[in-house]
Amino acid sequence: MPLVNGGKIVDDSFVKLAVDTPLPEGGDILVPAERFVSDADALLKRAGKVGVIWPNNRDIDELVPYLGKVAAVALVFPTFRDGRAYSQARLLRERYNYRGELRATGQILRDQFVFMLRAGFDSFEVKKQADAEAFMQTAKRYSVFYQPTGDGRVTALHRRMQLRHSEGVGT
């Protein structure tokens, strides 16, 4: 499954651990929430980056104390019709100021990229190679955004206000 990060297909440095996989010596690991929470101190002490896979039905508040210490948070879309992780993503970015890697995992198609970018995701485990290759093109599909979110894209309402004021100059 190709990983897109920073707009490009990249190698995934993280290894995903299951609840009972033996802990590797070094290297970057993505750990299920349950295991992470029960053993956070030990996990964070080892060499290599640590990220956490956070299920979409688990309260994000529980993750907040660790946000400064994890290198990645992977949120889950069990199917692309299940949109709970969009709310989790915005809360992480906009309320808790999480600045690390925010990864979308699960059933990820090109048709969600714009929504996900706007919700704060910057990393995508894409299901199909063709969708991963189409990332940059698909991400630019929209130039108009009606809602303000933490991604900082200028909203339609804001652009209208700018237009109004610039038209007002000199009249």
């Binding site: 915005r90 714009v114 130039s143 108009v144 209208r160």
Partner: protein, 551 residues
């Protein structure tokens, strides 16, 4: 009328090109039907019994004549020459070919019409009073706010994959024509004691298999805060709404399971985090949207022009005028409802020819504006009273002057088993039979205001729970059986109807309705007592007796 600016136009065009790519990927097999399903639903495309069905949004029920002509064009070019107006200010086309859909959308985009989010588990078309901006006594034009909310809910990056569909309706009149109490969010536009605009917010209304009337969760949300407050409701719903069972996924179930108080506390808590953010709207933003709504340059006209006085001698004209013409906020003008419920016809259908002709009449008599109401009728919102007789003659020629608005034959019905893959029973033939049964105008007039609503399955698209007489078709041992309720209503006193007894067969439905009506005529205290009032006064019992005594 709201005029799209370059920004709105760009977005709709970008959406069309995205959908074109999605259809292409589906046709090439790159997308599975399962993957494509969600994407097509976000663009109003259902797979029905016989073909794809295409649902187009008419936000807050306002159409310009070039838009109505574009709908006629789609009916003619891509469909079978007609369209069906729904209970949520949409129009549906029943025979669209998938490969042609992107072109149909592109044709509509040219006149500022889209089909975004007219189906799927997202925020649906924002609906409002079809008399918005012209109804006497209205607090202010609710379409300004409807448009603001329409924009905010379009392609929302957080709330496009909700547990279930989500519908918002807005009213600004004491008399609720937008049925806000049966919506996921109902907004009642009000002024506070300082004269500032805000909203009473109701949540959790809805019909389907578990009907609920919406509950007020906040008595006043200031206009500047309405987007953040809606966002707070949606965030609570998106995270905690049930996703394990499609029949328990609407927000009404969450509100019911948490209790109104706990639900509103959750919303309040979320809202406190986000109310002082970019979601706060300043007056200038509202002004900007308001400035793109244009209003007619009304003339100063007499209250009772000679033309109207003379036409009063014509009984047919008078019969139509009494039921179809309503007071306008400007003297000398009227709001004219166009009945799409001809005797023997399917409720809510209009042919391409009727749409084109109506567009011409709207240009001539209604400042180029048409409205669509949840009762599946249309309206011309600004007709000079002096023009009423001439308009009536033209409408009559088009088969659009059936004098039955708000009467027993002004029936709301879903498409039912004739089109819909979810239906268990036929709806349209029941409606057609009832319009024939009560075709005598004198009789219908004697009965007075009476709303019949018909749904062909438990999903309740025909809003049967809130019909004065509600008819629900179900399937029992391979046969269509109809359950009859009475006493429901969808207005400001919204209530769910009560079952009168065991279900009846297809052939018996019209007889049963006749029995109910006869019972009412015998029981009412005076001619002015409406059916719904008699039911409220006496309950179900006397009607039940009348219906089942001989069965």
């Amino acid at each position: 009328m709201y005029a799209y600016d370059e920004i709105d136009r760009t977005l709709v065009n970008e959406r069309v090109s995205e959908f074109r790519d999605q259809v292409k990927r589906r046709l090439s097999g790159e997308l599975t039907e399962d993957e494509f399903k969600i994407l097509r639903l976000q663009n109003g495309v259902y797979l029905q019994l016989h073909a794809y069905m295409f649902r187009v949004a008419i936000p807050y029920g306002t159409l310009a004549t070039n838009q109505l002509r574009a709908l006629a064009h789609v009916a003619r070019k891509y469909d079978r020459g007609y369209g069906h107006f729904t209970t949520r200010q949409n129009i549906q086309f029943n025979w669209i070919k998938l490969a042609e859909l992107p072109d149909a959308l592109a044709d509509l985009a040219k006149v500022g019409i889209h089909a975004m989010q007219t189906s799927g588990n997202n925020m649906r078309n924002v609906t409002s009073d079809q008399w918005a901006g012209v109804a006497p006594g209205e607090i202010e034009d609710p379409r300004i706010w409807s448009e603001l909310i329409r924009q905010h809910t379009t392609l929302h990056p957080e709330f496009s994959f909700l547990p279930r569909k989500f519908k918002i309706a807005i009213t600004a009149s004491d008399h609720d024509r937008a049925a806000i109490k049966i919506h996921d969010i109902g907004l009642r536009l009000i002024k506070n004691e300082k004269g500032e605009t805000g909203f009473g917010v109701l949540v959790g209304g809805g019909l389907g298999r578990t009907p609920f009337i919406a509950k007020t969760i906040k008595h006043f949300v200031h206009g500047r805060d309405i987007l953040s407050y809606i966002e707070a409701i949606l965030r609570v719903y998106n995270q905690y709404g049930r996703r394990d069972n499609i029949y328990k996924a609407r927000i009404k179930i969450l509100v019911h399971e948490l209790g109104t108080e706990k639900f509103s506390r959750e919303v309040e808590e979320e809202w406190q985090h986000i109310r002082n953010s970019l979601l706060q709207i300043d007056d200038e933003v509202i002004e900007d949207i308001r400035s793109r709504f244009t209003y007619p340059a009304y003339e100063k006209l007499p209250h009772m022009p000679d033309e109207l006085r003379q036409a009063a001698a014509d009984r047919d004209f008078e019969a139509w005028r009494k039921n179809s013409v309503a007071p306008h906020k400007v003297q000398g003008y009227s709001i004219v409802t166009i009945s799409l419920k001809p005797t023997g016809g399917p409720p809510g259908d209009a042919t391409a020819e009727q749409m084109d002709a109506l567009a011409d009449l709207a240009d001539k008599y209604s400042f180029g504006e048409i409205r669509v109401g949840h009762e599946q009728n249309l309206a011309l919102p600004h007709v000079a009273k002096r023009d009423l007789p001439a308009l009536w003659k033209s409408l009559d020629k088009l088969g659009l002057a059936t004098p039955n608005v708000n009467l027993i034959t002004d029936i709301i019905a879903c498409p039912g088993l004739d089109y819909c893959s979810l239906a268990n029973a036929r709806s349209i033939p029941i409606a057609q039979e009832l319009t024939r049964r009560f075709a005598n105008h004198e009789l219908a007039n004697l009965i007075g205001r009476l709303h019949i609503n018909i749904s062909g399955c438990i999903n309740a698209c025909g809003h049967h729970h809130v019909g004065h007489i509600g008819i629900l078709g179900v399937e029992k041992n391979g046969e269509e059986v109809y359950q009859i309720t009475i006493g429901g209503r969808a207005d400001e006193s919204a209530a769910l109807g009560n079952l009168i007894g065991p279900g009846v067969k297809f052939d018996e439905v019209a007889d049963v309705v006749e029995d109910i009506v006869e019972a009412y005529l015998a029981l009412r205290e005076r001619p002015e007592e409406l059916f719904i009032e008699t039911v409220k006064r006496l309950g179900v019992e006397p009607f039940k007796e009348r219906v089942y005594a001989t069965r």
